[in-house]
Amino acid sequence: MTATKIIAPLRKLNRRNVFMFLALLGPGIITANVDNDAGGITTYSLAGAQFGLSLLWIMLPTTVALVVVQEMCARMGAVTGKGLSDLIRESFGVKITFYVMIALLLTNLGNTVSEFAGIAASMELFGISKYMSVPLGAVVVWLLIVKGSYRIVEKVFLVACLVYIAYPVAAFMSGPDWGVVLKASVVPDFKVTPDAVTMMIGIVGTTIAPWMQFYQQASVVEKGITKENYAFSRLDVIVGCFMAIVVAFFIVVACAATIFKAGIRIETAADAALALTPLVGRYATTLFAIGLFNASLFAACVLPLSTSYYICEGLGWELGVGKDFREAPQFFWLFTIIIAVSAGIILLPGAPLIAIMFISQVVNGAVLPFVLIIMLMLINDKRLMGDYVNKATFNIIAWATVVIVMGLTVVMTLDIIFPGFIARLMGN
């Protein structure tokens, strides 16, 4: 007995335990970092560049909503031990699951297109034409999924994420009036224009993307987290969300302080890279390109893979990268097609990369309320969650998010159909 106790701490230091510790670097942190993908960086950059600091106040409520939503998914995963698409299937039946899967496929297709746009845009900053970088990128992504070890890819990505530190530093170096910044973080002061409404939906959509809920829950289940060790998961979600929002916040501030001030309109990634000039001067473009490329590449691996995963899970097809084409044909075809179509769209001549990256996030925002409604129904089901149903505060926050985002989407859609609708609404 005593020998074991003495040996125990030594055992803890061996190779396997260190790996396990790294492996436990949680789903929350990964999910949140993938949040700052091509679509994310673009949306936040545009927000800062086009609206200055006037939309900064939206970050705080969005963060709160993000933490609430991701925590709900982690909790559902820990308590039920099943993924989100499984729960939807078991509680709502195959019809609803089918339509949710279609919606998920379409939004994720949009997101994947945006990732390839990111790859194209970042490589263009190095002078590499998109006709070379995108097909190559598609092949690399496909190989990484099929041949690569997901764990290693994950770790490499996380290390490369350190590049984002450039943004907070750039924000500080651009020397904005911090009093103004702090005030703008809490006090809304903006004109309600169609662009502003669209941007708000985009910010929400890129921060709380629907695929993140599925991913968070699936990761929690895969790590084998149960209601007993769930507290660790909750911490992981909060830390992850906090990290993501910090980066997003400073992207907006940095862009506001440089690009907005200079009155430049962001058309290409090169324009967006200008936000980093106070920090690194000439190297701004390089740094930005590296960050964008890293984020886009990893997200381009994660999105098709996880989308295929959830769809196959929901519809009962075989899945898993351990299998081959014959054993799990639908799984393989799904992500191959998603990659191929996304890359193909980017290769169309004259594809407006920045616009694509932005619109896909707006679509995320529009679809989000529906996923949230389903989640709220599941998480308040006592038979499913037992004592872990939502407390009142969580319900209020989640429902408020649903109502607000849906409201914004309706307003935006009406404005698209009847131009000038928002102006009339505001009494202009």
Partner: protein, 425 residues
């Protein structure tokens, strides 16, 4: 009642109107309640829903039951009884869209549709549809798809599993199967069982393990990767988990316990039989990457002054508990290793021969701290089925089987696992 031979799918009748003899609609078919039957479960009641209220109709009162019409023999009298009981099995609530174990294919699948068939006067649950056809049928797109399939000469295959090969999950549902068919899971090969268990959702794990015999459960867990089996064990209560651990060979139990936190491991060890716990703890003390970390401390042994007969008696006594019975080690009271006998030699020698005469002296061995490469080389060079492991003072600590060392080194470890399973005798 006239019913088509090929059976009715639940999705075809669910939510269809139910009419009484006079043609009055009494509601929509909401669910179907079942009771245990031999060999297949029988339909006992239909649940009919109208304006939010659910009523029961006994099967005996049904005249027609098909996708076109569901009708009663007479009129619906009275309140129709209690609508839903908690411990009753309903097709839509408990089986449709839920997961079940396909015992034949050794995997966990989801039910897309249920197939009912008439057997004499009873309607039985004959099979479940787990394929994409079931999904399409539920969505109403099956006819269109079949048409397309016919045009393209690429029909979508049926994927139905006979209910006899289905092991449902969930406490209620196991009552549907009677004794004869309940042991379906126990007949599975441990590797298949391990595969199924690793796919089960948390909540069903302890119920399924409970239904298995301890030794079957232990064998199955031994086939799983330690990460997965440690997760499974943490779903069970400590005494149950300890029982399962006792049934596993000590080296596998040690691997599993190494994956758990120290406190949890100590707790489980304290619930185990002290002898078994001691064996496992001896193994836990060694470094993972050494011979001591991979070895099994249960092996066949015999005293130096024994005869072949004594050795065979010993083998018969211990072989049930021991994994590796290829060799019998000749070991004295001080646990010093003198020699080794292969089972083949034992079988060929006559009973009174002393083992000292036929044993191989100076058997190749390694130390508890030896690197696994050394063990591997010995196995390959001398074609050993197992290599004895000695302590510093020469006492025998355990053996590393060729299976285990191969699994450690070969990149095709998966394939080796399958091969090892084939060789189990």
């Amino acid at each position: 009642m006239n019913q088509p031979d090929s059976g009715i799918f639940l999705s075809a009748v669910l939510d269809r109107p139910v009419i009484s003899l006079s043609g009055r609609e009494i509601g929509k078919l909401w669910d179907v309640a079942m009771s245990p039957g031999e060999p297949l479960p029988l339909v006992k009641h239909l649940l009919v829903r109208k304006a939010g209220k659910v009523r029961r109709v006994p099967w005996a009162d049904i005249a027609l039951f098909n996708p076109v019409v569901v009708s009663l023999k007479g009129e619906l009298e009275g309140a129709g009884g209690v609508p839903e009981l908690e411990d009753e099995v309903l097709m839509r609530r408990d089986i449709l869209d839920k997961q079940i174990v396909d015992v034949d294919g050794a995997r966990v699948v989801r039910v897309n549709d249920l197939k009912l068939m008439m057997v004499l006067d009873d309607l039985c649950l004959a099979a479940v549809d787990v394929g994409f056809r079931g999904v399409l049928r539920r969505l109403g797109y099956l006819k269109a798809w079949d048409f397309l399939g016919g045009v393209l000469h690429n029909p979508l295959a049926r994927k139905e599993i006979d209910w006899l090969f289905v092991q449902p999950l969930g406490a209620n549902l196991s009552r549907l199967t009677l004794t004869v068919t309940r042991d379906k899971l126990s007949d599975l090969h441990p590797a298949d069982l391990a595969h199924i268990i690793s796919q089960l959702p948390h909540q069903n794990i302890s119920a399924v393990l409970n239904s298995l015999d301890m030794d079957v459960a232990g064998e199955a867990l031994g086939e799983m990767e330690p990460e997965d089996s440690s997760r499974v064990l943490s779903q069970l209560d400590s005494s149950h988990a300890a029982d399962v651990l006792e049934e596993m060979p000590p080296d596998e139990a040690a691997d599993v316990l190494a994956e758990l936190s120290d406190e949890k491991a100590q707790e489980l060890l304290s619930h185990m039989d002290p002898e078994d716990a001691e064996k496992v703890q001896e193994l836990l003390e060694h470094e993972d990457d050494s011979a001591g970390g991979l070895m099994n401390n249960e092996y066949l042994f015999v005293a130096p002054d024994a005869t072949v007969d004594d050795a065979m008696t010993q083998v018969r006594l211990l072989a049930a508990e021991i994994d590796n019975i290829y060799y019998v080690y000749v070991v004295d009271e001080g646990e010093q290793l003198f020699g080794v006998l292969s089972l083949k030699r034992l079988l060929l020698a006559s009973g009174e021969t002393p083992v000292a005469e036929i044993m191989s002296r100076n058997p190749k061995s390694v130390h508890v701290d030896s690197a696994l490469d050394e063990v591997f080389e010995l196995v390959v060079q001398y074609k050993l089925a197992a290599v004895p492991v000695l302590e510093e003072d020469g006492r025998m600590a355990g053996i590393v089987s060729a299976d285990d060392i191969m699994e450690h080194f070969l990149p095709f470890a998966q394939r080796w696992k399958q091969y090892k399973a084939l060789r189990k005798f």
